[in-house]
Subunit: 397 residues, 2 copies
């Protein structure tokens, strides 16, 4: 959070949003400079805002719907934005008077809100995600089932770890069955897929998917063949008496950064060359094409799509094929390198939550004749996780 | 579909996929050339495939799980791919013998399958989407409720139109209520959001969203504040007796192309500069940041994010602000230009389906005192629409 001085003081001007923006700093100066308005706070800090940006962000009840808080000011109907008159109000806020329709429209901007918006250099870098290797993840961040399911603080801690590290454990839960849906409901609702709203991971006689066998599972993400794959996966352990079957997890973002350091060309091909994925059974045929390493609009790592089973026929320019395979194999080696991969045995009553598009998961093979192994899984959207976390974080850091 | 010669003939080699690949053309030649294998078909066509690509795509039951059809061959454990011996089998397929572990591994490739994979220049361009303006969409593509809900052919036609034009109408349906969910269930299941699995569009006394008022709605997409917004929206009309309230729809991809023609700089800023969106109420706080015009990994238009109500504070470098606003206003003007926008009155028993991230929707204001207006809406994932369509298209073009 970029705000520098949250206080208990109420905001000077109601800006129609829930994020805190109160600040002890008031404006001492405001003047029009060409197509911008320059302001000065009482600690000497200065900033400039385009007048079109200011007009577009007017918080008055004519420009924002008073109940929904949504913007009802339509710039498209406004025409060129005129030069306003600028002043500092007695409260230290910014007052602007816009000549409109023979009269004036008044906009008031809270000084703390404006201070938050002064990102002259664009949004701040660093997203606070703690990329990890095996040495840095010797103890999984964990919260008890009781704390997660009955207290806001427990849920918040668990979600903060899940969001920051892409991995968080729940311990000491019951083993009645379907607890995984109870965990999901603390956040929102499950993301349904072609495997249902919840799925049982057991060895099945007629598997349509490698997870339903007893074989070793190489590190992978689930459902990269979906345009919109599930973001988070929760795996709840009900029984784990079979020999083998340890869980394997690797931070794919840490591995992508490592690949970038040691072989920038390999990283670039994984980050730019789309790969096809496809899953087909009797009733479904779900396919998508995207790079192995995804980046968001600001260039930050945003997703990994790696799943060797359902990687479809590779379509790419012939000259790219050799470098792609070199990059793909090296990425895979790093994903299961003990330097990056952690290994643990999930116990009955434990649930592991992980970011399906960042932390790749796998498991060692197990012997279904030595005992029963039964996990239940469900998926949750990142939108819901982030929303729940923001709501829990309201009203204080 | 890029295949040139689907026939009734069975494939020569089972490649473990459902997409048709049978072809009358057989191989007449195969030889190793450096790190590639060159093949010739009986019509003289030639192609070259990297040997690493061929080894990776071996369809035998040791390299592909015989039940799940998923790839079980792990390139990461293989080491350098050796030079194979190549031959044409008596059936005209490609046979490769790989020296492995003191013996040989045999791979057989169907000649029709290889022909499909010969995309020497990369994937074919042109996605078959019919961008439209108002003159080109004077009659909405439509299917009756009975055909869509009771026949595969009706459903397929409706989905083909929805996929191609981003818009398709259902007519002559009942008005009992919740039909919209019945339509969704023909395809899969609804995409749940913070507005539920289904939502009623009526004028509400305490709206948390502009759709629940009676005001005019400017063209917009729903939920661009989600990282994963709903892809398709179905709006089912139960009552429409109020004065006003006509539906307005515009193909945002056609408009984006128009903007690109008339002002390439404006298009580029909309396609590259991320914009924040945010929705907040008492229980949710859902925010995401993405460009107005999205492109997929191959550079094709993939989504529009435009919704002036929930556009959040604009964070971008100060020098970009003026060109962004110029682009944004011009894009908005084009979205509601009668050259691009279509207008129609949805009748009770009709359902309009549209691509929420391509076809922007709006409505004229209505007077809730003149009669009741009641629509029911639901969302569906593109993954499910595409999957259903592929399954319906199996076994013939």
């Amino acid at each position: 959070m970029p705000y520098d001085a949250v206080t208990d003081a109420a905001p000077v001007v109601v800006m129609g949003e829930l994020e805190p923006y109160a600040s002890p700093h008031r404006l001492t100066g405001a003047r029009v400079e060409g197509d911008r308005v320059a302001v000065t706070w009482d600690d000497g800090r200065e900033a400039r805002f385009h007048r079109i940006w200011l007009r577009d962000h007017c918080p008055c009840s004519a420009c924002r719907h008073p109940q929904t808080r949504e913007r009802t000011f339509d710039l498209v109907d406004y025409g060129p934005v005129p030069q306003p008159a600028a002043e500092v109000t007695p409260d230290g806020a910014l007052g602007l008077l816009w000549p409109e329709g023979g009269g004036h429209h008044e906009s008031l901007f809270d000084p703390g809100w404006l201070r938050l918006r002064d990102d002259s250099g664009g949004p701040a870098g660093g997203d606070g995600r703690g990329f990890w290797d095996a040495a840095g993840m010797q103890t999984l961040p964990q919260v008890s089932w009781t704390a997660m399911t009955t207290t806001d603080a427990g849920l918040r801690t668990w979600l903060e770890n899940l969001s920051r590290y892409g991995i968080a454990l729940i311990t000491d839960g019951p083993t009645e069955g379907e607890e995984v849906l109870g965990a999901v409901e603390r956040i929102g609702w499950p993301r349904e897929t072609n495997f249902g709203r919840m799925f049982d991971v057991v060895s099945k006689p007629n598997p349509n998917n490698a997870a339903y066998t007893a074989i070793k599972l190489e590190p992978h993400v689930d459902l990269p063949n979906w345009q919109r794959p599930p973001d988070f996966q929760f795996l709840y352990c009900l029984e784990n008496a079979a020999e083998g079957g340890a869980s394997l997890l690797t931070d794919g973002f840490a591995v992508a950064e490592q690949l970038k350091r040691e072989d920038p060309e390999a990283f670039e091909v994984l980050a730019s060359q789309p790969v096809d994925f496809r899953f087909q059974d009797e009733t479904a045929d779900i396919a998508f094409r995207a790079p192995t390493v995804g980046r968001d609009a600001d260039g930050a790592l945003s997703e990994i799509r790696f799943n060797n089973w359902i990687r479809d026929k590779l379509r790419m320019p012939a000259d790219t094929v050799p470098v792609f395979y070199r990059a793909y194999v090296r990425f895979w080696e790093l994903l299961r390198d003990p330097r990056f991969m952690i290994r643990f045995q999930l116990q009955p009553g434990q649930m592991i939550g992980f970011d399906n598009l960042r932390v790749l998961h796998g498991r060692e093979s197990f012997d279904p004749n030595t005992g029963r192994r039964h996990l239940q899984g469900a998926y949750v959207d990142r939108d819901l996780v982030n929303s729940r976390l923001r709501v829990l974080q309201r009203g204080g850091a």
